[in-house]
């Protein structure tokens, strides 16, 4: 397969789509919001789990591709924190978080494991993902409205029929 034309940023549409979407919400949320949602999710935050990879920080190389079809180039390195945990029932949760927040990565991994488990999914979704999704939407809406307030409209004079010919 020609590596050059492999789409790497397609939207999830397979069996993993739901998991990808909650992992994204957990990763993109503000760490403060994640922690407060976790701490208030009583009963969930006490489910025992085995840590198979302690939260650890590292660098990943972010790669870009000019015009989405050009050759790959290294855009730069970013700090990433990752973690993996397993519940007693066997579900394994994984997280990759931008930044250096160990607690955020641990919570996101535990949440990922809980969300995969049939017994905990609904409760975890309501307690964690829904409020975090709302906070992300609010944050985006606020940003959009701030941006909208400074919008400058450029008007183009409509040509007359004579100009057009």
């Amino acid at each position: 397969m020609n590596e050059k034309f492999v789409e790497t940023d397609t939207l999830p549409n397979d069996a993993n789509a739901a998991r990808q979407s909650w992992m994204k919400i957990l990763a993109c949320s503000d760490p403060v919001n994640v922690e407060s949602a976790w701490n208030s999710a009583l009963g969930l935050n006490e489910v025992p789990c085995e840590i198979i990879r302690k939260p650890e920080r590292g660098l990943v190389m972010v790669r870009g591709r000019a015009g989405s079809a050009g050759g790959q180039f290294n855009l730069g390195e970013m700090t990433v924190t990752r973690c993996a945990v397993r519940l007693a029932e066997g579900e394994t949760g994984v997280s990759y978080i931008a930044g250096r927040n160990l607690e955020h990565a641990l919570i996101a991994a535990k949440a990922d494991a809980l969300l995969q488990s049939e017994t905990h999914h609904d409760k975890a979704f309501a307690a964690l993902i829904e409020p975090l999704q709302k906070q992300i939407d609010d944050r985006e809406a606020e940003r959009a409205s701030k941006v909208a307030a400074t919008r400058v409209n450029f008007f183009t004079m409509v040509r007359t029929r004579e100009d057009k010919k």
Binding site: V6, E50, I52, R53, A84, T92
Partner: protein, 201 residues
């Protein structure tokens, strides 16, 4: 394109990845600089039949730059997933491409010449063999001498293939090329760098 990694069987690695890997590294360094001396590594259990000492070598020395060859008995899904998860190491089926090769007692091993001997400019690129045995203390005696050994040292690895010592002697005769070996059993490891000369006692 993307390979999925089955995490359902992966067991934890070092409790403290930095400090535990450092102390393990020190012990491995002692083992390889004093050929024949047995070092005991303190490593959490890995998926069988990978023994703790081999697992410790993997967690300490291997990463995404070191392709790993596995002999047939070690090519289980749980071992492959464990190595890929903890070491991020690629798994290869070509002995010559491997930086490390895990060989299990009882398997048919590739001939020692099939592994990478290093090249004259970079002898350090040779394959290191991690040989898993049932015991390092109950087999026939092998006498060692060479750098790192004051007079001579004797080891008793169990069930080594008959022709192994001759093949190894030929392999390392091309010094500075040649493969380094680690003999492991349980949590014990013996280092056999390419400089060590062996004689069946």
């Amino acid at each position: 394109m993307t390979q999925t990694l089955d995490l359902s069987q992966v067991t934890p690695g070092f409790d403290d990845p930095v400090l535990d890997a450092q102390s393990c590294f020190r012990k491995v360094l002692d083992a390889i600089s004093h050929p024949g001396r047995i070092s005991a590594l303190d490593v959490p259990p890995a998926p069988a039949p990978l023994n703790p000492a081999s697992a410790g070598l993997a967690l300490t020395l291997m990463d995404f730059d070191t392709p790993i060859y596995l002999s047939p008995a070690l090519q289980t899904d749980s071992i492959v997933s464990w190595l890929r998860f903890h070491c991020s190491a690629p798994i290869t089926t070509v002995p010559n491409e491997a930086a490390f090769a895990f060989l299990q007692e009882g398997d048919v091993w590739p001939s020692i010449d099939e592994f990478h001997p290093g090249d004259a400019k970079y002898p350090d690129t040779s394959t290191s063999l991690v040989i898993q045995l049932s015991s390092l203390e109950t087999g026939p005696a092998i006498t060692l001498n060479g750098p790192g050994i004051e007079t001579q040292e004797t080891i008793h690895p169990n069930s080594m293939p008959e022709n192994f010592w001759n093949a190894r002697a030929e392999n390392v005769a091309d010094f500075q090329l040649g493969v380094d070996c680690y003999l492991t059993a349980g949590n014990q490891v013996i280092g056999l760098p390419r400089t060590t000369r062996t004689m069946p006692a």
